[in-house]
């Protein structure tokens, strides 16, 4: 299983993401944002951080990086893509996921654990969890308030595309407590919490490890056994 972790100038969760993927058994490697070749990636991961300093809007400049054409082509061909935090913001800006992430309702940058519920297990990044599992994972963002047009929100709910939802406490004012969503094909997933920061028992439990274990467990099946 080949996992490409994209590095933008300002990415800062790239190493954690790569390690979490490797820990799950994947072959993880970095792809610089100026590269245009994903080197036969099965999965692409866009890590957290502050690509391009979040100038203009979080993710707004990163989506024009040369590598994004390859990421979009990979996604359009049915390839699995995971965006974590800043990666989620980039996927929205790039149009691979609907909606946008705006300034937290309370204005403050939030860095703390939150509880999220796994709403959908039919994605390559959540299949290893039981439906309804509650995961305590860290968030670390200033712009995590998920916003979308009313008809988009209705479609996300009707089609079961809300993957993760905050429970007990909505930290940023996200619509419908949304913490993570997927595309119509269920191959592209974006989430604000950081599973890669909760994927090592040494760091106090590994509830996020299932995101990376899911890739190993389900992607071969989803790809028709070709990988």
């Amino acid at each position: 299983m080949r996992v490409a972790v994209i590095r933008f100038p300002g990415s800062n969760c790239d190493e954690d993401t790569s390690r979490a993927a490797a820990r799950a058994g994947a072959t993880a490697y970095y792809v610089w944002h100026r590269d245009t070749d994903l080197d036969q990636a099965d999965v692409v991961m866009l890590p957290g951080g502050f690509a391009y300093g979040d100038y203009l809007r979080a993710g707004a400049i990163a989506r024009f990086s040369p590598v994004m054409a390859a990421v979009v082509a990979h996604a359009r061909a049915g390839g699995a893509v995971l965006g974590i935090c800043n990666g989620f913001q980039i996927l929205c800006e790039a149009g691979l996921l609907p909606g946008a992430l705006m300034r937290n309702a309370g204005l403050q940058f939030l860095s703390r654990p939150v509880d999220v519920r796994v709403e959908r297990t039919d994605t390559p990044f959540t299949c290893a969890y039981p439906t309804g599992a509650i995961l305590r994972m860290p968030i670390a963002h200033g712009e995590g308030r998920y916003v979308a047009a009313d008809d988009t929100l209705r479609a996300l709910e009707a089609e079961g595309r809300v993957v993760l939802r905050y429970v007990g406490d909505n930290p940023n004012g996200s619509a419908a407590d949304i913490a993570g969503i997927t595309n119509a094909e269920r191959t592209v997933v974006g989430m604000m919490p950081h599973p890669e920061r909760a994927a090592d028992p040494l760091l106090g439990g590994a509830p996020g490890a299932g995101v990376f274990a899911s890739v190993m467990q389900c992607l071969p099946t989803l790809q028709g056994g070709s990988a």
């Binding site: 203009l56 024009f64 946008a100 705006m102 309702a105 309370g106 979308a148």
Partner: protein, 85 residues
């Protein structure tokens, strides 16, 4: 061709929560500016565009807004064109 000075104003969509505007409104009240409401915080981008006409410069800037300067999901924009001296 002329050089047209363009200002793009990008504002959070009126129907969406603007926590920055709320915080500024609160601070203005604390400073003693009573009766201030509907404070919203957006962003202005100024640029100079080479174009044959003002209308062409406006059209270019509008395209820039749609593709980069504004997020169509959350923001509205306005393009103001004035000829540079």
């Amino acid at each position: 061709m002329g050089a047209f000075h363009v200002q793009v104003r990008v504002m959070p969509r009126a129907t969406l929560l603007d926590p920055q505007g709320q915080a500024v409104e609160h601070a203005l009240g604390a400073l003693g500016f009573d009766g201030v409401t509907a404070v919203r915080v957006g962003r202005a981008v100024t640029l100079t565009v080479e174009a044959p006409t003002a209308a062409a410069a406006e059209a270019q800037a509008t395209d820039m807004c749609r593709r980069l300067l504004a997020n169509p999901v959350t923001e509205d924009f306005e393009v103001l064109v004035g000829v540079t001296p």
